[in-house]
Amino acid sequence: MSHIVPEAPQQDKRTRERYLCDDRFRRLEITHPDSGELLSVTPVNFNCYGVAFFASQPLPESGVTKVCLTFESEAGTLRLDNLLAEMIYSLGSDVGCYCGAAFVSAQVETGDTLSELLEIERALADAQNQEDRYGLDDGES
């Protein structure tokens, strides 16, 4: 299965910046790669090639998942369903499971999907505040 993720350097898998997600992600759901169960997860960072998320249940570190997301952009609500993605890492513990999934290029490159993913990426990129990453706005962070 091919990804649109560019070939990554050996020691740092992610070459394209991923942007911190925010509450404009109204929904992020994935199917469990093994059981197919639909799980609601917390989006952490995102770019048009993939998404990192935190789940409250263990997930395998490989396998194919389907991603469903709803994002409130300035232009309106973007809704993407059954986006194929491949699990690329999973770090589990008793506090939850931090995972990364790369969107599958064959599907992403068709139709409007890529432009919608890019729109989300741009919206998140525009909202990044290098001086105040977490919006604590007190010069402390």
């Binding site: 917390t42 570190e61 770090l91 939850g96 931090y98 977490y134 962070s141």
Partner: protein, 447 residues
């Protein structure tokens, strides 16, 4: 001293052993209880009350001293109740205990706040801290091993571990914090307990808790995962991701921790609280009981955040830990759902975006180690450059202070692109520390 007997309404999430239950929020006849009024002697009785009621009424003795109009304390059982809320037995001024309870529930933090300053330079404290850390990690390993063998928890030993660490954190908040960044691959559980103890003490210091409270909550941090000593080794140290069944088994550690601690003599009630509740979530989706936010003890909310941070940044048998900033990202995104929002914000402030010891990739392609945070601008720390533009070895290391806007070889000002996990680009923090990298000292190092 004069006292009054009073009836006090208590949410079932705050019930403690020793409390005298007078009545329930429903008729006794509608419940399983045989006695209409009893002293709670067993944890099972608390579970039964929590299963059948939302609140109960307990008997509280109210002491009225010479300054009765200003100070008020309640005992014996209500004092336990009060202590769990305040995390240290603070005395309210000019307020009734019920009001004090409500206020603490609403504010969720101690009313007394202490500002600490570093009493000793980090480089000097590092010597003591390193020895304390090694010794304490060994003791933490022994504690877990002894419980696994069926021995009683040695609270004296546990307090000794904690006191050494807390004293170091109080002298200087950075030395032990840095040592928590040196993650071993094969000693996760004991190391994690130690790190949560140290990080909890550091966070409690940041929150301005009283010294005595810091010692107590650090002990809670050390013992928060003590229940894992009852989880089979095959699951605990599995060299790959857990299956859903194994994960369920692992989740039992919270209740097992409560049992281990309650069976141990001279255990602080707060330790039982934290071990049992540190996986509860404000959105009610936590375990083991799925408590709502208002019923989760304040200290358990603190340890939950610290626990998550260390778990995400720690190495496992099968995977490397993630960077500090990724852990902060997760905590930030989990605010109000998995983590208490106000405490999560404070924790992010406490750790900082680029804490000393972070490995960072710069806009030039060079790689550096954060040597010291800049108190005026935490986004512009002092950095030791250890890899060149192609991430290869440098002939000479170079110290730069980003607050002074230094330029790279192309004349562009340096900027931090991102933080990467320890070990990335072949940069191991441990190697640099062992070779004498001292935090805060602008030294030039040879390769």
């Amino acid at each position: 001293m004069a006292y009054d007997l009073k009836e006090m309404r208590v949410p079932v999430g705050d019930l403690r052993l020793g409390m005298h239950v007078l009545r329930l929020d429903r008729p006794w006849e509608e419940t399983d209880f045989l006695l209409q009024g009893f002293v709670i002697n067993h944890r099972e009785e608390i579970d039964a009350l929590q299963a059948q009621c939302e609140h109960v009424f307990i008997e509280a003795k109210v002491h009225m001293g010479d300054i009765a109009s200003e100070r008020l304390s309640i005992d014996p059982a209500a004092d336990l109740y009060n202590r769990s809320e305040t995390g240290g037995g603070a005395v309210a001024r000019g307020k009734k205990a019920g009001d004090q309870y409500k206020e603490r529930h609403a504010v969720g933090k101690p009313t007394t706040r202490v500002t600490y300053i570093n009493k000793i330079d980090v480089s000097k404290e590092m010597v003591t801290a390193r020895s304390a850390y090694d010794q304490a990690r060994g003791m933490a390993r022994d504690i877990m091993a002894n419980i696994r063998l069926g021995k009683t928890l040695d609270m004296h030993q546990a307090r000794e571990v904690v006191d050494e660490c807390v004293s170091s954190v109080l002298r200087n908040g950075d030395a032990l914090l840095l040592l928590t960044k040196l993650k071993e691959q094969h000693e996760y559980t004991a190391e994690h307990c130690m790190n949560v103890c140290i990080l909890t003490a550091t966070f409690a210091r940041h929150l301005g808790m009283l010294e005595e409270e810091i010692r107590k909550i650090a002990l809670c941090g050390l013992l928060h995962d003590v229940g894992k000593s009852r989880i089979p080794d095959a699951v605990l140290n599995k060299p790959s991701a857990l299956t859903p069944e194994e994960y369920k088994l692992m989740q039992n550690h919270a209740a097992l921790g409560r049992d281990v601690l309650m069976a141990s003599p001279r255990v602080e009630h707060s330790c039982v609280d934290v071990a049992y509740n540190h996986h509860e979530r404000p959105d009610g989706n936590g375990y083991p009981r799925g408590l709502p936010a208002t019923q989760i003890p304040y200290w358990a909310k603190i340890v939950a955040i610290v626990d998550a941070y260390d778990a995400i940044t720690s190495n496992r048998n099968y995977d490397k830990g993630r960077a500090s900033m990724e852990a902060l990202d997760i905590i930030h995104r989990g605010k109000g759902k998995q983590f208490d929002e106000e405490l999560a914000n404070e924790f992010i402030r406490c750790i900082g975006i680029y804490p000393p010891g972070s490995i960072i990739l710069l806009s030039s392609g060079e790689v550096g180690i954060v040597v010291a945070a800049n108190p005026k601008n935490k986004l512009k720390p002092r950095v030791l450059l250890v890899r060149n533009e192609q991430q290869g070895k440098r002939e000479k290391y170079r110290m730069i202070d980003l607050i002074q806007s230094p330029a790279d070889s192309r004349g562009n000002p340096y900027a931090i692109t991102k933080e990467v996990p320890d070990g990335t680009f072949g940069v191991s923090l441990r190697n640099f520390l062992e070779r004498g990298l001292v935090l805060g000292a602008p030294t030039v190092y040879e390769d």
